[in-house]
């Protein structure tokens, strides 16, 4: 390992495979499997044929060396180192003493993982080596661009226009209020009717009986109101008296005896 100012931050170097230095690439994050894969590659064998023990030895030697150089090691490295040390000891023990999973299985698993990582690293390299846009092939430098302008087409018509103007003018014009000719019974005509009907008898009569029999509901309401006011008026004049048993009970009226018929 070379003695650079930042001993564990070596720039990636194409010639690194030749160098016997192991290194951590913190920027590109080379981790334990990565390192193992590198070690496996150096054995120049099929990943399924590699000697796990040799791999373990190399890895542990690397960790030792790093320790000797007082390099800070990522936790991953130390976990992997501990696991590998365990694996190594298990493989050195007699088979009978093995627990499940066997060290062979652990080694196989490790090999399979390395194989998969190796495959992906190779795939990544091939991917990066393709003709890439912006490096090997180029798209049009100054495309005119396609534009779909959403244009609103406003619609209206002459009637809407003059109607709108009419409304504006009507709103602005001095307002003249016309009261519509509603079917009503005026107070005068109610007074007339009630007086006339009171003249007929001295008995109590319900005020509802004074209403015109065939009136529409609107006219009936108006007649009731007018007749009530007429009844109050006649009572005030001392010509009739009113009687009611309770709120909203039938309202009765009769002519006062002394009073002359209207």
């Amino acid at each position: 390992m070379s003695q650079e100012a930042a001993p564990f931050l070596f720039a990636p170097d194409p010639a690194r495979a030749e160098a016997d230095a192991l290194y951590l690439e913190l920027d590109g994050w080379e981790g334990p499997l990565d390192l193992l894969l590198d070690l496996a590659r150096r054995q120049k064998v099929d990943l399924l044929q590699i000697s796990i023990l040799a791999l373990v030895d190399q890895y542990l030697a690397y960790i030792d060396q790093a320790g000797a150089m007082k390099l800070e090691l990522a936790a991953d490295y130390l976990v992997m180192a501990a696991w590998l040390a365990y694996l190594k000891s298990a493989m050195l023990l007699p088979k009978a003493a093995q627990e499940d999973p066997s060290p062979e299985e652990l080694a196989l698993r490790l090999q399979l993982r390395l194989q998969r990582l190796g495959a992906m690293r190779e795939a990544a390299a091939r991917l990066m080596g393709r003709d890439r846009i912006g490096r090997d092939v180029f798209v049009r430098g100054a495309p005119e661009g396609l534009r779909t302008d959403r244009k609103i087409s406003w619609r209206s018509d002459i009637f809407a226009l003059i109607q709108a103007y009419g409304q504006v003018k009507a709103r602005a014009a001095p307002r003249i209020y016309h009261v519509a000719n509603r079917p009503v019974m005026t107070l005068d005509s109610a007074l007339e009717r009630v007086s006339a009907m009171l003249g007929v008898t001295l008995e109590w009569m319900e005020i509802r009986d004074f209403l015109p029999p065939h009136a529409t509901p609107e006219l009936k309401r108006s007649a009731l109101a007018s007749s009530f006011v007429a009844a109050l008026e006649l009572t005030k004049r001392g010509r009739a008296e009113l009687e009611q048993d309770g709120a909203f009970a039938p309202l009765r009226i009769r002519r006062l005896k002394d009073a002359a018929p209207a």
Binding site: F138, R150, S153, D157, I162, Y165, H178, P183, T216, A223
Partner: protein
């Protein structure tokens, strides 16, 4: 293609083609030749001439403007590059009123429009009318504050089927058509119509007066 370039473009022509295609700006012959490692300008010119001819019938043309070359879509296809999607929308009530006021009173300022309408007019309303192409700025009124004044456009007359603004019905005609009746009165008329259907009505008339 018979008179012009050979069937298969050569490497040089292809290189010039790719260079111009990828360039972010039109390139002069010198610039192309520099890009291609100091190719002889005469060769570049030959390649450009071949390419220009090759692309003549295409949807894309190679053109020279002020000594610099670039690809552009064929002029007859320009309409395809900028597509307009029309969306028909009916003018809002407020906008129709403002338009009507401008049409009847033009040229008219915004303050005048508001005083006629009796309500404030949002700036967006006038924008819509100008976007529709029916209203235009018609200068400024020479009064204090010099307000902008608005008038209608020929497109306005077109759209509304008017030969001229004089075709707009006058106040008397509007009145005759019932268009000047206040809204309340129109309502009243409508309601009365509903009441009238009552057969007792005639009978009641008698009672009312009786």
């Amino acid at each position: 293609m018979s008179e012009g370039p050979p069937e298969e473009p050569d490497m040089l022509e292809r290189a010039v083609e790719a260079t111009l295609f990828a360039s972010e700006e039109p390139l002069a012959v010198d610039a192309i030749s520099a890009h291609l490692g100091g190719l002889a300008p005469a060769d570049v010119r030959d390649a450009l001439a071949c390419l220009e001819m090759r692309y003549r019938a295409r949807g894309v043309h190679l053109v020279e403007r002020g000594g610099r070359w670039h690809f552009e879509t064929a002029p007859d296809l320009a309409h395809l590059m900028r597509r307009e999607k029309e969306q028909v929308r009916r003018l809002s009530r407020a906008a129709t009123e403002v338009l009507a006021i401008i049409a009847y009173h033009e040229p008219v300022s915004r303050a005048e429009i508001e005083s006629i309408r009796g309500v404030q007019t949002s700036a967006g309303t006038l924008d819509v009318l100008m976007e529709a192409g029916w209203v235009r700025l018609a200068g400024r009124r020479e009064v204090p504050g010099r307000p902008v004044i608005y008038a209608t456009t020929p497109q306005f007359l077109d759209h509304f089927g008017l030969a001229s603004r004089r075709d707009l019905p006058g106040i008397d005609e509007l009145r005759a058509a019932g268009l000047l009746d206040p809204v309340d009165e129109a309502m009243e008329a409508a309601l009365e119509g509903v009441v009238r259907f009552d057969p007792d009505e005639a009978d009641d008339e008698g009672h009312r007066d009786g």
